[in-house]
Symmetry: C2
Subunit: 673 residues, 2 copies
């Protein structure tokens, strides 16, 4: 059996991509055909991976940022020996197949991250490359390069137009991520046509301005691509951009070079013409044996992993403690002592009973938990002193020393989120990052991606209401709490005092399969006294904080800074003889809704119709809990610039307003507007 030419190997990718897209009658052939030659060189000559074990820790990471080119990736996975069969390819874009329209982490073996929203894959890659450097700095020893892999990212024009490409590539340049290699599919075409009319950047120059190493190459010349990759790998102090001049849809003789082939099947005729052009006579989905053999990476991969396992074993003998710690972090297991530590800390806080801003309480929780959690990697989008995301052990990393636990992300909220996704996907880290709640807007789609990928990323979102004060409406979140609650699978906590904040942090750290937003106040919040039995209930997301006797006369539901207000309102009502008012603190609606209905009923008995909900934000979403006879006190307009205290007064978020609203309901009066 002769060894097939590189062209032929690349054409196998082209054929599978065309055929699967045609069968699905949906998909994007342009990029798979255009990048096939580059991918062939990278995967066959450089990628270190084991198709039989996609989870092998020291594998090279491959990210397809231009996720619409999913058939390129699926073809590569199939050909190199992953558990992605021809049958799977035939099911491209069908319900519950292994080959969805865009690559999805957790669905397809070998897919490192979910991509589709353009540009985010590059930032995921930056996160992976950072994770590699940080783990290497922590665990490698001169004689043991335990963590040692490259991160390769494919990206198109769209990715490079997106703002996030600036944010993350600028940071990658500053941090000198030498083992990050980005391939730019410079085909000059996007959906609207030839990009020259809207994208005329000198991209090499732009990346040089970021401190990157840049190579220009003909993306259809395998030898040139190979040389470029060798050069890029040799440059260890700077990330590398390989600008590949390509023809979109290369191989489809009539469709290539045009926007039309970006996102539509080529059609039967054009595919037939392409088969001729490519000298690929095989029927759809048929790959010659010699091509399979040449692509097969299973043997090589198994050997690589075996060698690494031997290295790991030797390392374990020489450095038993680091080895154990490394294994714990690879397995994403928390230290056994964590839960007890948190429980104890929460008890202590309850006993101390301090009034404190919840952003400050968050810092104290980090201070407590971080020493036993070296996997916690913090950061802020240039708001460290406001978000209070640092602690006494904070050590910012820099190119000269990657053994840190804090990333100064700069004013780059979206990149921060997507880089955290990359670190979480890589493994070995629990990333947390801070910004103002209002600027979660900038990061929103990457927060969504954390949720879609079910990964543990912690968003520290401080300055959570009009309590922001003087900075005014541009900086005051109104709709953001409600809006983040809408993202499926995202856990959100808005703690009311030091105790709930510590519990929220514990929940976030223990939430292995999903992201968490911690919503924190700028201003001081009063401590709320609890009996010991109540502490465990915080973790249920909603619980009775203060109660009267027997069936409640009325229930006030509140979150965060408004819980203190609710408690004061209950006291006012009590002084007026209404001793049966219950206050329910609901720091996490999603957590409360995950409880069984009997617990929910215990906290919020259906028969109690007199209910008031208080939250310093949009009222939408609370009708479910207020019920048809209840009232919601919130803010349904933009804020104002003024001292925070004055604003709570101006917007009527006061104990006396809450108390009066309860009274009105109890007395059946119209509620004044």
């Amino acid at each position: 059996m002769s060894i097939p030419s590189r062209k032929k190997l690349a054409n196998a990718v082209r054929a599978l991509s065309m055929d699967a897209i045609e069968k699905a009658r949906s998909g994007h052939p342009g990029a798979p055909l255009g990048m096939a030659d580059i991918a062939e060189v990278l995967w066959n000559d450089f990628m270190r991976h084991n198709p039989a074990n996609p989870a092998w820790f020291n594998r090279d990471r491959f990210v397809l940022s231009n996720g619409h080119a999913s058939m390129l990736l699926y073809s590569l996975l199939h050909l190199s020996g992953y558990d992605v069969s021809i049958e799977d390819l035939k099911q491209f874009r069908q319900l519950h197949s292994r080959t969805p329209g865009h690559p999805e982490h957790n669905i397809t073996p070998g897919v490192e991250t979910t991509t589709g929203p353009l540009g985010q894959g590059i930032a995921n890659g930056v996160g992976m490359a950072l994770a590699e450097r940080m783990l290497a700095a922590r665990f490698n020893r001169d004689d043991f390069r335990l963590v040692d892999h490259f991160t390769y990212v494919f990206a198109g024009d769209g990715c490079l137009m997106e703002g996030i490409s600036h944010e993350c590539c600028s940071l990658a340049g500053t941090l000198g991520l030498g083992k990050l290699i980005l391939f730019y599919d410079d085909n000059g075409i996007s959906i609207d046509g030839p990009v020259a009319g809207w994208f005329s950047d000198n991209t090499p120059k732009r990346f040089e301005a970021y401190g990157w190493h840049v190579v220009n190459v003909d993306g259809h010349n395998p030898e040139a691509v190979k040389k470029a990759i060798i050069e890029a790998r040799a440059q260890t102090l700077k990330p590398s951009l390989i600008c590949c001049k390509t023809v979109i849809g290369r191989g489809a003789p009539n469709a290539c070079g045009q926007a039309g082939c970006h996102g539509s099947p080529l059609g039967r005729e054009e595919i037939a013409a392409a088969r001729k052009e490519l000298s690929w006579p095989q029927a759809p989905f048929v790959i010659p044996a010699d091509v399979y053999t040449a692509w097969d990476a299973k043997k090589k991969g198994a050997q690589m992993e075996r060698q690494w396992n031997e290295l790991m074993a030797a390392y374990g003998k020489r450095y038993p403690e680091p080895a154990q710690e490394f294994k714990r972090r690879m397995a994403a297991l928390l230290p056994e002592s964590f839960a007890a530590l948190a429980t104890e800390f929460i008890k202590t806080l309850e006993a101390k009973g301090l009034d404190m801003a919840s952003r400050k309480a968050s810092q104290e929780a980090i201070e407590q938990y971080a020493p036993i959690l070296p996997e916690l990697i913090g950061g802020s989008a240039d708001l460290t002193s406001s978000n209070l995301t640092n602690w006494s052990g904070t050590k910012a990393l820099c190119p000269a020393d990657y053994d840190g636990n804090y990333i100064r992300y700069g004013v780059r909220e979206l990149a921060m989120a997507a880089i955290m996704n990359g670190m979480a996907l890589h493994g070995g880290f629990i990333p947390y990052g801070g910004t103002f709640l209002v600027f979660s807007d900038y990061a929103r789609n990457a927060i969504r991606m954390s949720a879609l990928m079910k990964i543990r990323v912690i968003y520290v979102l401080s300055h959570d209401s009009i309590g922001v004060g003087e900075d005014g409406p541009t900086h005051q979140p109104i709709e953001h709490i409600a809006s983040l609650r809408l993202i499926p699978g995202l856990s959100l906590w808005r703690p009311a005092d030091t105790v709930e904040t510590a519990a929220a942090w514990q929940a976030a750290i223990e939430n292995k399969h999903g992201p968490t937003c911690l919503i924190l106040s700028r201003q001081t919040l009063p401590h709320l006294g609890r009996a010991e039995g109540q502490l465990a209930n915080i973790n249920r997301g909603g619980y009775v904080l203060r109660d009267g006797r027997g069936t409640p006369e009325a229930i006030i539901i509140a979150t965060g800074s408004e819980v203190g207000t609710a408690v004061k309102a209950a006291a006012i009502l009590e002084a007026q003889g209404h001793t049966g008012v219950r206050v329910v603190s609901m720091p996490s609606v999603d957590r409360f809704e995950a409880q069984d209905s009997s617990y929910q009923e215990k906290v919020l008995p259906a028969q109690v119709k007199a209910r008031v909900v208080v939250e310093a934000g949009r009222t939408t979403g609370w009708h479910k809990y207020a019920g048809s006879q209840g009232q919601i006190i919130g803010i349904d307009r933009f804020g104002e610039s003024a001292p925070g205290d004055e604003l709570f007064n101006y917007f009527g978020l006061l104990a006396r307003t809450v108390a009066q609203t309860v009274l009105n309901i109890l007395q059946g009066r119209e509620v004044p507007k």
Copy 2:
């Protein structure tokens, strides 16, 4: 009276800024002190504006993208003669003052745009510069330069780190916006400290890569700054970046050059030291008369406007029709024929009764309305053929010809939104721009800014549900409709057929004081028959589309693609003898909520408790309309990759499910999960 030195003039800005921030005990002195020298030169030697008439159409536009430096702008407005008094400055950051924490459009005379969320001001400036070029191309004649002004933008490190700076500056370079001049306050400091650790871009090189003209200058040397501005103004084919090396907090001898002075008052002692350093002996808020005189721009400004008015008058004589059209557009008045045209068009559509995807119906509405609305300036973030934002008269603009009506924004959603904000603020245009609904996430904070500024921008958001189909969960909006509804002052329409789509477009165009999101389907939607009396009610946001006799037995409320489903469900129920089922189409919840309560009660009588709401997205927010006995059919999880039809089936968004849910309620049965 001698003429004060430039230093002294700049120090007046420094003194006012320090004093106002100190009085408010809140604010950001670093940038006002650091940029005072630059601002002094720009405002005293170059700015063409009339403080007595901030709305003079041909004024230079000045944007403070680093909005936290608001005291810089307020000082400039006060000193140059705008209606911003010393009393106003003393009220800095107080409730309902003219000097809020960040500059807010519509509050302070002379503030062109609301800034604070970093980077967006640059994009607003790009939009203003674009608007200037386009109006000039349309209305100027060789002998009449009716529209002819510069757009000046101040920005800091934060703005340049943000991704949006890449998006909009790349596009500005491609479009060759020669009258846009950006001043970069290169002080090397951001909140987390010296930026070298997280922002080491070679910014001049980066902007050269975008095709900008770049000048480097000492930002504290007025003569050098002046020379740079002259040079930048002379470069008419490229936008200019003036990189100004500055010292943050310049003038505060101990605080300057450090992150600490970025966002906190300097304190009494340091202010006293600064007064010495600056040789500024005056008491707080006291400005010497000679300084006032030198700054006063009222006389110059009045003369400039007078000259322009004369030019306008002469133009009116020579070119009466363009002059009338220009005045109409300056006044943001719609052509008188518009409303009648729309009404007629809507009637025609009802008569035609075509089934059509609402994105296609949107294109037809544009086709109908655009010919009489030359102020409509369209565009798409590289999804023209998907959003269908183009029409037969579409002409994309380019540097060689700005007389177009379409902007190819490239894959830059956030910049598109913020550029549209800039065009709307400039005046003369009604911008609309398209992307997929799911990627409104990327643009979210700029959409919020449209709403906060109450400006007319139209977001065309297609592919509005799982109807997206094969592209899968990364491309399928779930939470987005509910989430956009949360932004105060944002109008949202999700039309159900061609008729509602045309009505939605009409509403968006007539919504002079706020932005509108048009939420459109990818897939074909059936035409829904209406009697003539019903057509006018569409504009009320919610109306009875189909009714039984007498008081309804049950009500189905639906939006967009689910209205057809609801109508079918009602037919199923009717066939089973339930003839009293009402279907309410609610294309715009905000519009419906703006109606008087008697109309609302007519559409949704409180006594009818059997209600089902159907919408292919998050159920949150609908409890208010479903009521405690109603049911909501929606999607509270992420989507799947599969053909769209199959997904509606998979997620149970079917007429028979809706009908069964109504039946269950009517029969008092538990609703099956």
